[in-house]
Protein backbone atom coordinates (compact mmCIF):
# COMPACT_ATOMS: atom_id res chain seq x y z
CA UNK A 1 0.00 0.00 0.00
CA UNK A 2 1.56 3.28 -1.06
CA UNK A 3 0.21 6.58 0.12
CA UNK A 4 -0.30 9.01 -2.74
CA UNK A 5 1.69 12.23 -2.27
CA UNK A 6 -0.27 15.30 -1.26
CA UNK A 7 -3.45 13.73 0.09
CA UNK A 8 -5.62 15.53 2.60
CA UNK A 9 -7.92 13.87 5.11
CA UNK A 10 -11.18 14.78 6.81
CA UNK A 11 -11.91 14.10 10.43
CA UNK A 12 -14.59 11.67 9.21
CA UNK A 13 -11.77 9.53 7.69
CA UNK A 14 -11.99 10.22 3.96
CA UNK A 15 -8.85 10.99 1.96
CA UNK A 16 -8.81 13.25 -1.09
CA UNK A 17 -6.17 13.88 -3.75
CA UNK A 18 -6.49 16.86 -6.03
CA UNK A 19 -5.81 16.11 -9.72
CA UNK A 20 -6.19 19.32 -11.72
CA UNK A 21 -9.82 20.33 -11.51
CA UNK A 22 -10.81 16.86 -10.36
CA UNK A 23 -10.16 14.92 -7.17
CA UNK A 24 -9.98 11.27 -6.13
CA UNK A 25 -11.68 10.30 -2.88
CA UNK A 26 -11.21 7.23 -0.71
CA UNK A 27 -11.44 5.97 2.84
CA UNK A 28 -8.37 6.05 5.09
CA UNK A 29 -6.61 2.79 6.05
CA UNK A 30 -7.30 3.67 9.68
CA UNK A 31 -11.06 3.80 9.02
CA UNK A 32 -10.96 0.55 7.06
CA UNK A 33 -9.03 -1.13 9.88
CA UNK A 34 -11.64 0.10 12.38
CA UNK A 35 -14.54 -1.19 10.26
CA UNK A 36 -13.10 -4.69 9.86
CA UNK A 37 -14.29 -7.02 7.07
CA UNK A 38 -16.02 -4.88 4.45
CA UNK A 39 -18.85 -6.76 2.76
CA UNK A 40 -20.85 -4.17 0.83
CA UNK A 41 -20.25 -0.79 -0.78
CA UNK A 42 -22.95 1.40 -2.29
CA UNK A 43 -21.48 4.10 -4.53
CA UNK A 44 -23.35 7.09 -5.98
CA UNK A 45 -24.44 7.46 -9.59
CA UNK A 46 -22.20 9.28 -12.00
CA UNK A 47 -23.39 12.85 -12.42
CA UNK A 48 -24.79 13.25 -8.92
CA UNK A 49 -23.84 16.42 -7.03
CA UNK A 50 -22.80 16.50 -3.41
CA UNK A 51 -21.89 19.37 -1.18
CA UNK A 52 -19.02 19.28 1.29
CA UNK A 53 -19.73 16.92 4.22
CA UNK A 54 -22.76 15.38 2.50
CA UNK A 55 -23.06 11.56 2.66
CA UNK A 56 -22.33 10.09 -0.79
CA UNK A 57 -21.70 6.38 -0.17
CA UNK A 58 -22.41 3.62 2.31
CA UNK A 59 -19.93 1.03 3.45
CA UNK A 60 -21.03 -2.02 5.39
CA UNK A 61 -18.82 -4.19 7.51
CA UNK A 62 -20.11 -7.41 9.06
CA UNK A 63 -21.13 -5.44 12.14
CA UNK A 64 -22.57 -2.17 10.85
CA UNK A 65 -23.33 0.28 8.05
CA UNK A 66 -21.35 3.54 7.84
CA UNK A 67 -21.94 6.66 5.75
CA UNK A 68 -19.05 8.16 3.83
CA UNK A 69 -18.94 11.96 3.53
CA UNK A 70 -17.64 14.32 0.83
CA UNK A 71 -14.46 16.07 1.96
CA UNK A 72 -15.22 18.79 -0.64
CA UNK A 73 -18.22 19.59 -2.81
CA UNK A 74 -18.46 18.38 -6.39
CA UNK A 75 -20.01 16.25 -9.12
CA UNK A 76 -19.24 12.54 -9.40
CA UNK A 77 -17.47 11.80 -12.69
CA UNK A 78 -16.27 8.24 -12.05
CA UNK A 79 -16.97 5.51 -9.53
CA UNK A 80 -14.76 2.53 -8.72
CA UNK A 81 -17.08 -0.24 -9.93
CA UNK A 82 -14.54 -2.88 -8.99
CA UNK A 83 -15.45 -2.26 -5.34
CA UNK A 84 -19.15 -2.92 -5.89
CA UNK A 85 -18.37 -6.51 -6.81
CA UNK A 86 -15.36 -6.98 -4.56
CA UNK A 87 -15.80 -4.74 -1.52
CA UNK A 88 -13.14 -6.73 0.36
CA UNK A 89 -10.48 -5.10 -1.85
CA UNK A 90 -10.80 -2.09 0.41
CA UNK A 91 -9.45 -4.18 3.31
CA UNK A 92 -6.41 -5.01 1.20
CA UNK A 93 -5.46 -1.52 0.04
CA UNK A 94 -7.40 1.57 1.02
CA UNK A 95 -5.30 3.95 -1.12
CA UNK A 96 -5.22 1.90 -4.31
CA UNK A 97 -8.96 1.24 -4.07
CA UNK A 98 -10.41 4.72 -4.30
CA UNK A 99 -14.20 5.23 -4.13
CA UNK A 100 -15.11 8.08 -6.51
CA UNK A 101 -13.59 10.78 -8.68
CA UNK A 102 -15.29 14.13 -8.65
CA UNK A 103 -15.17 17.40 -10.48
CA UNK A 104 -14.64 19.87 -7.64
CA UNK A 105 -16.85 22.90 -7.10
CA UNK A 106 -14.16 24.94 -5.35
CA UNK A 107 -11.33 22.80 -4.06
CA UNK A 108 -9.23 25.59 -2.57
CA UNK A 109 -12.19 26.94 -0.61
CA UNK A 110 -13.67 23.57 0.43
CA UNK A 111 -10.37 21.96 1.36
CA UNK A 112 -9.76 24.43 4.15
CA UNK A 113 -9.87 22.57 7.43
CA UNK A 114 -8.80 19.25 5.91
CA UNK A 115 -5.71 17.72 7.49
CA UNK A 116 -2.35 16.73 6.07
CA UNK A 117 -2.03 12.94 6.36
CA UNK A 118 0.58 13.11 9.13
CA UNK A 119 -1.64 15.45 11.15
CA UNK A 120 -4.60 13.15 10.56
CA UNK A 121 -2.59 10.20 11.90
CA UNK A 122 -1.70 12.24 14.98
CA UNK A 123 -5.40 12.89 15.51
CA UNK A 124 -6.56 9.30 15.28
CA UNK A 125 -3.70 7.43 16.91
Amino acid sequence: MTMPDGILCSKTHEWILEEGNNAVIGLTPYAVEQLGDIVFIELPEIGSDFSKEEAFATIESVKAASEIYMPVGGKVVEVNDKLTNSPELLNEDAFDNWLVKIECNDFSQDSQGLLEYSDYLDEVE
Binding site: G36, D37, E42, V62, K63, A65
Partner: protein
Protein backbone atom coordinates in the same frame (compact mmCIF):
# COMPACT_ATOMS: atom_id res chain seq x y z
CA UNK B 1 -27.53 17.20 32.55
CA UNK B 2 -25.64 14.32 31.06
CA UNK B 3 -26.15 10.90 32.51
CA UNK B 4 -23.24 9.56 34.48
CA UNK B 5 -21.67 6.83 32.45
CA UNK B 6 -21.32 3.65 34.39
CA UNK B 7 -17.92 2.14 34.15
CA UNK B 8 -17.91 -1.03 32.09
CA UNK B 9 -16.86 -4.24 33.80
CA UNK B 10 -13.91 -6.29 32.65
CA UNK B 11 -13.67 -10.09 32.61
CA UNK B 12 -10.57 -11.78 34.12
CA UNK B 13 -9.38 -12.25 30.52
CA UNK B 14 -9.34 -8.55 29.64
CA UNK B 15 -5.54 -8.33 29.46
CA UNK B 16 -5.36 -11.55 27.38
CA UNK B 17 -7.70 -9.96 24.83
CA UNK B 18 -5.52 -6.86 24.62
CA UNK B 19 -2.40 -9.01 24.21
CA UNK B 20 -4.07 -10.69 21.23
CA UNK B 21 -4.85 -7.29 19.71
CA UNK B 22 -8.61 -7.57 20.15
CA UNK B 23 -10.90 -4.66 19.37
CA UNK B 24 -12.96 -4.09 22.47
CA UNK B 25 -16.57 -2.95 22.62
CA UNK B 26 -19.12 -2.32 25.39
CA UNK B 27 -21.72 -5.11 25.61
CA UNK B 28 -24.32 -5.48 28.35
CA UNK B 29 -22.22 -3.35 30.72
CA UNK B 30 -19.01 -5.24 29.91
CA UNK B 31 -15.93 -4.34 27.91
CA UNK B 32 -15.77 -7.34 25.56
CA UNK B 33 -13.67 -8.36 22.53
CA UNK B 34 -15.64 -7.83 19.32
CA UNK B 35 -12.92 -9.33 17.11
CA UNK B 36 -9.30 -10.40 17.03
CA UNK B 37 -8.26 -11.14 13.45
CA UNK B 38 -11.56 -10.42 11.73
CA UNK B 39 -15.15 -11.52 12.10
CA UNK B 40 -15.36 -13.63 8.93
CA UNK B 41 -12.11 -15.45 9.66
CA UNK B 42 -13.21 -16.18 13.23
CA UNK B 43 -16.65 -17.27 12.07
CA UNK B 44 -15.20 -19.75 9.57
CA UNK B 45 -12.59 -20.98 12.05
CA UNK B 46 -15.42 -21.94 14.42
CA UNK B 47 -17.44 -23.70 11.71
CA UNK B 48 -14.41 -25.58 10.33
CA UNK B 49 -12.07 -26.12 13.30
CA UNK B 50 -12.55 -24.61 16.75
CA UNK B 51 -13.27 -21.20 18.24
CA UNK B 52 -12.63 -20.10 21.81
CA UNK B 53 -14.92 -17.43 23.26
CA UNK B 54 -14.65 -15.54 26.53
CA UNK B 55 -18.22 -15.54 27.82
CA UNK B 56 -17.32 -14.73 31.41
CA UNK B 57 -19.80 -11.85 31.32
CA UNK B 58 -22.65 -14.38 31.48
CA UNK B 59 -24.35 -14.91 34.84
CA UNK B 60 -24.49 -18.03 37.02
CA UNK B 61 -27.05 -18.64 39.76
CA UNK B 62 -27.21 -21.48 42.25
CA UNK B 63 -30.60 -22.77 43.38
CA UNK B 64 -30.78 -24.77 46.58
CA UNK B 65 -33.33 -25.76 49.19
CA UNK B 66 -36.16 -28.17 49.84
CA UNK B 67 -38.45 -26.45 47.31
CA UNK B 68 -35.92 -25.98 44.49
CA UNK B 69 -37.87 -28.01 41.95
CA UNK B 70 -41.23 -26.64 42.98
CA UNK B 71 -39.89 -23.08 42.78
CA UNK B 72 -38.45 -23.54 39.28
CA UNK B 73 -41.65 -25.26 38.16
CA UNK B 74 -43.50 -22.07 39.22
CA UNK B 75 -41.34 -19.69 37.17
CA UNK B 76 -40.48 -21.68 34.01
CA UNK B 77 -42.84 -22.93 31.28
CA UNK B 78 -40.70 -26.04 30.83
CA UNK B 79 -41.27 -29.17 32.89
CA UNK B 80 -38.19 -29.99 34.96
CA UNK B 81 -39.68 -33.02 36.63
CA UNK B 82 -38.02 -35.63 34.44
CA UNK B 83 -34.64 -33.95 34.15
CA UNK B 84 -31.89 -36.39 35.09
CA UNK B 85 -28.85 -35.44 37.16
CA UNK B 86 -26.36 -33.70 34.90
CA UNK B 87 -28.96 -32.88 32.27
CA UNK B 88 -29.62 -29.34 31.06
CA UNK B 89 -32.67 -27.69 29.54
CA UNK B 90 -33.17 -24.46 27.59
CA UNK B 91 -35.84 -22.37 29.32
CA UNK B 92 -37.51 -19.01 29.24
CA UNK B 93 -38.28 -16.89 32.30
CA UNK B 94 -41.67 -15.24 31.70
CA UNK B 95 -43.23 -12.32 33.57
CA UNK B 96 -46.91 -12.26 34.57
CA UNK B 97 -47.94 -11.05 31.07
CA UNK B 98 -46.10 -13.88 29.33
CA UNK B 99 -43.31 -11.60 28.08
CA UNK B 100 -39.77 -12.67 28.88
CA UNK B 101 -37.52 -11.47 31.68
CA UNK B 102 -34.77 -13.58 30.07
CA UNK B 103 -33.94 -16.88 28.44
CA UNK B 104 -31.57 -19.22 30.25
CA UNK B 105 -30.22 -22.73 30.67
CA UNK B 106 -31.01 -24.78 33.75
CA UNK B 107 -28.62 -27.57 34.79
CA UNK B 108 -29.82 -30.24 37.23
CA UNK B 109 -26.77 -30.18 39.51
CA UNK B 110 -27.92 -32.22 42.51
CA UNK B 111 -25.15 -34.64 43.45
CA UNK B 112 -22.85 -33.06 40.87
CA UNK B 113 -22.14 -29.65 42.38
CA UNK B 114 -21.84 -29.88 46.13
CA UNK B 115 -24.73 -28.61 48.20
CA UNK B 116 -26.92 -27.24 45.40
CA UNK B 117 -29.83 -28.47 43.30
CA UNK B 118 -29.66 -26.42 40.10
CA UNK B 119 -27.17 -24.25 38.25
CA UNK B 120 -28.67 -21.59 35.99
CA UNK B 121 -26.76 -19.68 33.31
CA UNK B 122 -28.31 -16.34 32.31
CA UNK B 123 -27.59 -13.47 29.93
CA UNK B 124 -25.00 -10.90 31.07
CA UNK B 125 -27.28 -7.94 30.40
CA UNK B 126 -30.07 -9.48 32.52
CA UNK B 127 -28.23 -10.70 35.63
CA UNK B 128 -29.73 -8.04 37.89
CA UNK B 129 -33.26 -8.29 36.47
CA UNK B 130 -33.22 -12.09 36.65
CA UNK B 131 -31.88 -12.13 40.19
CA UNK B 132 -34.36 -9.53 41.46
CA UNK B 133 -37.24 -11.26 39.71
CA UNK B 134 -36.35 -14.77 40.87
CA UNK B 135 -35.69 -13.59 44.42
CA UNK B 136 -39.09 -11.90 44.56
CA UNK B 137 -40.73 -15.06 43.20
CA UNK B 138 -38.89 -17.27 45.68
CA UNK B 139 -40.40 -15.68 48.78
CA UNK B 140 -43.07 -18.31 49.34
CA UNK B 141 -40.69 -21.22 48.84
CA UNK B 142 -38.05 -22.84 50.97
CA UNK B 143 -35.36 -22.04 48.42
CA UNK B 144 -32.25 -19.90 48.04
CA UNK B 145 -31.31 -18.11 44.83
CA UNK B 146 -27.60 -17.30 44.97
CA UNK B 147 -25.93 -15.04 42.42
CA UNK B 148 -22.50 -16.57 41.71
CA UNK B 149 -21.81 -14.46 38.62
CA UNK B 150 -18.87 -12.57 40.11
CA UNK B 151 -17.15 -15.79 41.20
CA UNK B 152 -17.14 -17.64 37.89
CA UNK B 153 -15.59 -17.23 34.47
CA UNK B 154 -16.86 -19.04 31.42
CA UNK B 155 -15.33 -20.10 28.12
CA UNK B 156 -17.12 -21.51 25.12
CA UNK B 157 -15.10 -23.88 22.94
CA UNK B 158 -17.08 -24.45 19.75
CA UNK B 159 -16.57 -26.26 16.48
CA UNK B 160 -15.79 -29.78 15.21
CA UNK B 161 -12.29 -29.92 16.74
CA UNK B 162 -13.51 -29.02 20.24
CA UNK B 163 -13.91 -32.64 21.28
CA UNK B 164 -10.29 -33.42 20.39
CA UNK B 165 -9.02 -30.50 22.45
CA UNK B 166 -11.10 -31.56 25.47
CA UNK B 167 -9.70 -35.07 24.97
CA UNK B 168 -6.14 -33.69 25.02
CA UNK B 169 -6.99 -32.03 28.31
CA UNK B 170 -7.80 -35.36 29.92
CA UNK B 171 -11.46 -36.09 29.13
CA UNK B 172 -11.65 -38.90 26.59
CA UNK B 173 -14.42 -38.66 24.03
CA UNK B 174 -16.41 -41.57 25.44
CA UNK B 175 -16.70 -39.88 28.83
CA UNK B 176 -17.33 -36.37 27.50
CA UNK B 177 -20.80 -35.10 28.44
CA UNK B 178 -23.52 -35.66 25.82
CA UNK B 179 -25.41 -32.79 24.20
CA UNK B 180 -27.13 -30.64 26.87
CA UNK B 181 -25.48 -32.51 29.74
CA UNK B 182 -22.68 -31.49 32.07
CA UNK B 183 -20.09 -32.99 34.38
CA UNK B 184 -18.06 -31.68 37.30
CA UNK B 185 -14.50 -32.55 36.34
CA UNK B 186 -10.93 -31.38 35.84
CA UNK B 187 -9.47 -30.12 32.59
CA UNK B 188 -5.79 -30.88 33.07
CA UNK B 189 -5.71 -29.93 36.74
CA UNK B 190 -8.32 -27.18 36.68
CA UNK B 191 -11.67 -27.91 38.35
CA UNK B 192 -14.49 -27.03 35.92
CA UNK B 193 -18.13 -27.63 35.13
CA UNK B 194 -17.96 -28.94 31.57
CA UNK B 195 -21.17 -28.72 29.54
CA UNK B 196 -21.92 -29.87 26.00
CA UNK B 197 -23.71 -26.78 24.74
CA UNK B 198 -23.13 -23.48 22.99
CA UNK B 199 -24.47 -20.63 20.93
CA UNK B 200 -23.04 -21.32 17.48
CA UNK B 201 -24.93 -24.34 16.08
CA UNK B 202 -21.71 -26.39 16.24
CA UNK B 203 -20.77 -29.20 18.55
CA UNK B 204 -18.86 -27.78 21.48
CA UNK B 205 -18.48 -27.12 25.15
CA UNK B 206 -19.08 -24.40 27.68
CA UNK B 207 -16.66 -24.41 30.58
CA UNK B 208 -17.46 -22.74 33.91
CA UNK B 209 -14.74 -22.30 36.55
CA UNK B 210 -13.39 -20.00 39.24
CA UNK B 211 -12.02 -16.68 38.01
CA UNK B 212 -8.46 -17.40 39.17
CA UNK B 213 -8.01 -20.12 36.51
CA UNK B 214 -9.16 -17.95 33.60
CA UNK B 215 -5.84 -16.93 32.01
CA UNK B 216 -4.22 -20.35 32.36
CA UNK B 217 -7.19 -22.18 30.87
CA UNK B 218 -7.59 -19.66 28.04
CA UNK B 219 -3.93 -19.88 27.04
CA UNK B 220 -3.80 -23.65 27.46
CA UNK B 221 -6.72 -24.18 25.07
CA UNK B 222 -5.26 -21.73 22.55
CA UNK B 223 -1.97 -23.66 22.67
CA UNK B 224 -3.51 -26.64 20.79
CA UNK B 225 -2.41 -25.23 17.46
CA UNK B 226 -2.72 -28.62 15.76
CA UNK B 227 -6.51 -28.25 16.08
CA UNK B 228 -6.45 -24.74 14.58
CA UNK B 229 -8.23 -23.16 17.52
CA UNK B 230 -8.76 -19.38 17.25
CA UNK B 231 -9.94 -16.81 19.76
CA UNK B 232 -13.35 -15.54 18.62
CA UNK B 233 -15.04 -12.27 19.55
CA UNK B 234 -18.63 -11.16 19.95
CA UNK B 235 -18.85 -10.15 16.28
CA UNK B 236 -18.59 -13.73 15.05
CA UNK B 237 -20.58 -14.99 18.05
CA UNK B 238 -23.44 -12.92 16.66
CA UNK B 239 -23.16 -14.15 13.05
CA UNK B 240 -22.76 -17.76 14.24
CA UNK B 241 -25.83 -17.70 16.49
CA UNK B 242 -27.84 -15.89 13.83
CA UNK B 243 -27.03 -18.56 11.21
CA UNK B 244 -28.01 -21.21 13.77
CA UNK B 245 -31.37 -19.45 14.21
CA UNK B 246 -30.78 -18.77 17.91
CA UNK B 247 -32.44 -15.72 19.50
CA UNK B 248 -30.62 -12.99 21.45
CA UNK B 249 -32.29 -11.33 24.42
CA UNK B 250 -33.02 -7.65 23.73
CA UNK B 251 -33.35 -8.39 20.02
CA UNK B 252 -35.65 -11.36 19.38
CA UNK B 253 -36.80 -11.63 23.02
CA UNK B 254 -38.10 -8.94 25.36
CA UNK B 255 -40.51 -8.19 28.21
CA UNK B 256 -43.44 -7.59 25.83
CA UNK B 257 -43.13 -10.61 23.58
CA UNK B 258 -44.22 -14.14 24.47
CA UNK B 259 -42.21 -17.27 23.61
CA UNK B 260 -44.80 -18.19 20.98
CA UNK B 261 -44.49 -14.77 19.38
CA UNK B 262 -40.69 -15.15 19.40
CA UNK B 263 -41.10 -18.49 17.56
CA UNK B 264 -40.04 -20.56 20.57
CA UNK B 265 -43.29 -22.54 20.67
CA UNK B 266 -41.30 -25.73 20.17
CA UNK B 267 -39.93 -25.38 23.71
CA UNK B 268 -43.33 -24.91 25.39
CA UNK B 269 -44.97 -28.09 26.69
CA UNK B 270 -48.74 -28.41 26.33
CA UNK B 271 -49.16 -30.68 29.31
CA UNK B 272 -47.30 -29.05 32.18
CA UNK B 273 -49.68 -29.11 35.14
CA UNK B 274 -47.95 -26.57 37.39
CA UNK B 275 -48.89 -22.94 37.20
CA UNK B 276 -46.16 -20.58 36.13
CA UNK B 277 -46.04 -16.85 35.44
CA UNK B 278 -47.78 -15.92 32.20
CA UNK B 279 -49.16 -19.43 31.74
CA UNK B 280 -52.65 -18.28 30.68
CA UNK B 281 -51.24 -16.35 27.72
CA UNK B 282 -48.39 -18.71 26.82
CA UNK B 283 -50.44 -21.90 26.95
CA UNK B 284 -53.45 -20.32 25.19
CA UNK B 285 -51.16 -19.21 22.36
CA UNK B 286 -49.55 -22.63 22.24
CA UNK B 287 -53.00 -24.25 21.91
CA UNK B 288 -54.07 -21.67 19.28
CA UNK B 289 -56.80 -20.45 21.64
CA UNK B 290 -55.40 -16.93 21.72
CA UNK B 291 -54.06 -15.07 18.67
CA UNK B 292 -50.45 -13.96 18.41
CA UNK B 293 -50.03 -10.18 18.34
CA UNK B 294 -46.76 -10.39 16.47
CA UNK B 295 -44.45 -13.10 15.26
CA UNK B 296 -40.74 -13.53 14.65
CA UNK B 297 -39.64 -14.61 11.18
CA UNK B 298 -36.30 -15.54 9.68
CA UNK B 299 -35.52 -13.99 6.30
CA UNK B 300 -32.91 -13.92 3.56
CA UNK B 301 -32.40 -10.72 1.56
CA UNK B 302 -32.86 -11.21 -2.15
CA UNK B 303 -30.10 -8.82 -3.16
CA UNK B 304 -26.89 -7.53 -1.67
CA UNK B 305 -28.45 -5.09 0.80
CA UNK B 306 -27.95 -5.91 4.48
CA UNK B 307 -30.89 -5.53 6.86
CA UNK B 308 -29.89 -4.24 10.28
CA UNK B 309 -31.50 -4.15 13.71
CA UNK B 310 -34.31 -1.56 13.72
CA UNK B 311 -34.91 -1.35 9.95
CA UNK B 312 -38.61 -1.24 9.02
CA UNK B 313 -40.44 -4.23 7.54
CA UNK B 314 -43.26 -3.90 4.98
CA UNK B 315 -45.76 -6.55 3.98
CA UNK B 316 -48.12 -6.00 1.05
CA UNK B 317 -47.25 -2.31 1.12
CA UNK B 318 -47.99 -1.80 4.81
CA UNK B 319 -45.50 -1.07 7.54
CA UNK B 320 -45.51 -4.25 9.59
CA UNK B 321 -42.68 -4.44 12.08
CA UNK B 322 -38.92 -4.22 12.44
CA UNK B 323 -35.76 -6.17 11.87
CA UNK B 324 -34.46 -7.47 15.21
CA UNK B 325 -31.07 -8.81 14.00
CA UNK B 326 -29.45 -8.76 10.60
CA UNK B 327 -26.01 -9.50 9.19
CA UNK B 328 -24.20 -11.04 6.27
CA UNK B 329 -23.97 -14.81 6.67
CA UNK B 330 -20.37 -15.85 6.01
CA UNK B 331 -21.47 -19.48 5.53
CA UNK B 332 -24.26 -18.78 3.03
CA UNK B 333 -22.78 -15.73 1.36
CA UNK B 334 -26.21 -14.13 1.70
CA UNK B 335 -27.62 -11.49 4.01
CA UNK B 336 -29.86 -12.93 6.68
CA UNK B 337 -31.89 -11.75 9.64
CA UNK B 338 -34.81 -11.99 11.99
CA UNK B 339 -37.78 -9.61 11.99
CA UNK B 340 -40.68 -9.15 14.38
CA UNK B 341 -43.82 -8.77 12.28
CA UNK B 342 -46.54 -6.77 14.02
CA UNK B 343 -50.02 -8.14 13.18
CA UNK B 344 -51.83 -4.92 14.23
CA UNK B 345 -51.66 -3.24 10.89
CA UNK B 346 -52.27 -6.30 8.69
CA UNK B 347 -55.54 -7.68 7.32
CA UNK B 348 -56.97 -11.04 8.37
CA UNK B 349 -55.95 -12.90 5.22
CA UNK B 350 -52.31 -11.87 5.51
CA UNK B 351 -52.19 -12.78 9.20
CA UNK B 352 -53.66 -16.19 8.41
CA UNK B 353 -50.97 -16.76 5.80
CA UNK B 354 -48.24 -15.66 8.20
CA UNK B 355 -49.56 -18.00 10.89
CA UNK B 356 -49.42 -20.99 8.56
CA UNK B 357 -45.82 -22.14 8.03
CA UNK B 358 -46.77 -23.81 4.76
CA UNK B 359 -47.80 -20.44 3.37
CA UNK B 360 -45.45 -18.10 5.22
CA UNK B 361 -42.23 -19.88 4.19
CA UNK B 362 -41.31 -18.44 0.83
CA UNK B 363 -43.40 -15.29 1.29
CA UNK B 364 -41.73 -12.13 0.03
CA UNK B 365 -41.59 -9.18 2.41
CA UNK B 366 -39.86 -5.83 2.02
CA UNK B 367 -37.24 -4.22 4.19
CA UNK B 368 -36.47 -0.51 4.16
CA UNK B 369 -32.76 0.07 3.70
CA UNK B 370 -31.74 3.74 3.50
CA UNK B 371 -35.19 4.86 2.31
CA UNK B 372 -35.61 2.18 -0.33
CA UNK B 373 -37.54 -1.08 -0.11
CA UNK B 374 -35.77 -4.34 -0.88
CA UNK B 375 -37.24 -7.84 -1.11
CA UNK B 376 -36.56 -10.53 1.42
CA UNK B 377 -37.85 -14.09 1.54
CA UNK B 378 -39.24 -15.62 4.71
CA UNK B 379 -37.38 -18.86 5.39
CA UNK B 380 -37.42 -21.65 7.93
CA UNK B 381 -34.84 -21.36 10.72
CA UNK B 382 -32.06 -22.31 11.20
CA UNK B 383 -30.29 -20.75 8.23
CA UNK B 384 -27.45 -23.23 8.54
CA UNK B 385 -27.71 -26.89 9.54
CA UNK B 386 -26.77 -27.49 13.18
CA UNK B 387 -23.89 -29.88 13.74
CA UNK B 388 -24.68 -30.94 17.28
CA UNK B 389 -23.44 -34.38 18.30
CA UNK B 390 -26.35 -35.93 20.17
Amino acid sequence: MEAIEEETKKTPLYSEHLKLGAKMTPFGGWDMPVQYEGIIKEHNATRNYAGLFDVSHMGEFYIKGKDSLEFLQSVLPQNLENLTRGQAIYCQLPNQKGGLVDDLIVYFAKGIIEDIDYLIVVNASRIKEDFDFMTSQAQNFDVEVINKSDDFSMLALQGPNSKYIIEKMGIEQNIQPKFFHFINTKLDNTPVFLTRSGYTGEDGFEIIFENKYASDLWNKILSYKEYKVSPVGLGARDTLRLEAGLPLYGHELNEETTPLESSLGYFIPKDKIHNYNGKEVILAQKLHQMPLRRKLFAFIMQDRQIARNGYEVYIEGKKAGVVTSGAPSPTLGKNIGFCMVDFNNLDGGTIQKLNNPQESIGMIIQIMVRNKLYNAEIVKKPFVHKNYIK
